[in-house]
C-alpha cells in the first residue's frame, strides 16, 4: 500500500484534528507519522516554507492511502 502525505504540522493536536477530518471526509487509512530533526518544504506556498526550523521540533505528517 502506498501513502500520500497530505499535510504537515508542528502541533500534534492540529495533526489529530486534520487527520480526523480527512477520515470523516472519506479518506482511507489516515495515519500520523512523527519525525524528529526533519525539514520539510511546504510546496503549497511560493516561496516554499520550511516547516521545521533549526529547533528541530517534531514534525507530524498526516498520511492517507494513495
Amino acid at each position: 500500500m502506498s501513502y500520500l502525505a497530505i499535510d504537515f504540522f508542528k502541533n500534534k493536536t492540529n495533526a489529530d484534528v486534520t487527520a480526523e477530518a480527512f477520515r470523516q471526509a472519506g479518506r482511507k487509512n489516515v495515519v500520523i507519522k512523527e519525525k524528529d530533526s526533519m525539514i520539510v518544504n511546504d510546496c503549497r506556498t511560493e516561496p516554499h516554507k520550511a516547516l521545521v526550523d533549526i529547533d528541530a521540533a517534531p514534525l507530524y505528517i498526516v498520511l492517507s492511502e494513495k
Binding site: 497530505i6 499535510d7 493536536t13 489529530d16 484534528v17 486534520t18 480526523e20 477530518a21 480527512f22 477520515r23 470523516q24 471526509a25 472519506g26 510546496c43 503549497r44 506556498t45 511560493e46 516554499h48
Partner: protein, 240 residues
C-alpha cells in the same frame, strides 16, 4: 446476598486490624485490586426476535500510599524522606509513579434458520480501565490518557478532536463554496479568476488546474472536496 455482606465486613475488619488503626505508622504501600466480570448472552429465537443480555460487575479496592501528615504526637512529618517516590529531573517529584491499564472488547452474533435468510442478531461491548498515581497520573492527565484504554472503534479519537474535525470540515465546505462562487462564470471555470486563485499556492504547474479553464465548475467542486481538499485554505486566501 446476606452471606456476601458478612464476608465483606469480615474482610474489611481483617484489613483494618492488620494494617493498624494508628495511621501515622503506616508504610508506603500501594495495593490495588480489580475484579471485572463481563458477559454477553445473545440469541435469536425461531420467531426472529433477538434476545440480548449483558452482564457487568466490577469490584475495585485500593490501599493508597498515603503520606503521613503528622506523627502520633501531632508533629508534622517531613515527607521528603519518602522511600518510594517518582522523580523527574531534580525539582519535579510526586508519589510513587504507577500505571496499570486494562482493556478488552467482545463481540458475538447468532443466526437462526438458513444463513442468508434467517434472523440475525449481533452485538459488541468493551471494557476500559486505568489506574495511575504520581507522575504517571499527571502525564496521563496532560496527554488525554483516557485514549490509552479507549474501546472506541475509531482508534480512540476523543470527542474534542471529533468536534474540531467537524468544525474544520465545515470550514472547508464554506471555503469551497466561496472558491466556486469566485471562479465560476456561467457554470464554467473562468481562466483569469482561476489564475488569480492559484497564485502562490504551488498548484500553478499542476496538470489538473492547467486544463481546468472552460470546464464545468462541478469538476472543480468535486476535486476540491476530494483530492485537493487540503489546498482549499491556500486557494481561499486568494479570493479578492
Amino acid at each position: 446476598m446476606y452471606y456476601n455482606r458478612i464476608i465483606s465486613a469480615l474482610v474489611l475488619s481483617v484489613v483494618i486490624i492488620i494494617s493498624g488503626c494508628r495511621t501515622p505508622h503506616h508504610t508506603n504501600t500501594l495495593i490495588f485490586g480489580t475484579n471485572t466480570k463481563f458477559a454477553i448472552d445473545i440469541e435469536a429465537d425461531p420467531t426472529g426476535n433477538p434476545n440480548l443480555t449483558i452482564g457487568y460487575k466490577r469490584q475495585e479496592a485500593v490501599w493508597m500510599p498515603l503520606l503521613a501528615n503528622s506523627d502520633n504526637n501531632g508533629t508534622p512529618m517531613n515527607n521528603t524522606a519518602l522511600l518510594f517516590k517518582g522523580q523527574q529531573g531534580t525539582a519535579d517529584q510526586d508519589t510513587y509513579s504507577v500505571l496499570a491499564s486494562f482493556g478488552a472488547t467482545f463481540s458475538g452474533g447468532s443466526t437462526m434458520g438458513i444463513e442468508t435468510q434467517g434472523a440475525k442478531v449481533s452485538t459488541e461491548g468493551g471494557l476500559a480501565q486505568f489506574f495511575a498515581t504520581g507522575l504517571a497520573a499527571r502525564k496521563l492527565a496532560e496527554a488525554g490518557g483516557s485514549r490509552l484504554v479507549s474501546v472506541q472503534p475509531d482508534g480512540g479519537v476523543s470527542e474534542e478532536i471529533k468536534m474540531k474535525a467537524a468544525e474544520l470540515m465545515a470550514s472547508w465546505d464554506n471555503k469551497t463554496s466561496r472558491i466556486i462562487a469566485y471562479v465560476q462564470k456561467d457554470g464554467k471555470v473562468d481562466k483569469d479568476r482561476l489564475s488569480a486563485l492559484l497564485k502562490d499556492t504551488g498548484l500553478g504547474d499542476n496538470d489538473f488546474f492547467k486544463q481546468l479553464p472552460g470546464k464545468d465548475i462541478n469538476e472543480l467542486r468535486a476535486a476540491l472536496k476530494d483530492k485537493y481538499i487540503n489546498n482549499v485554505d491556500a486557494l481561499s486566501r486568494n479570493i479578492k
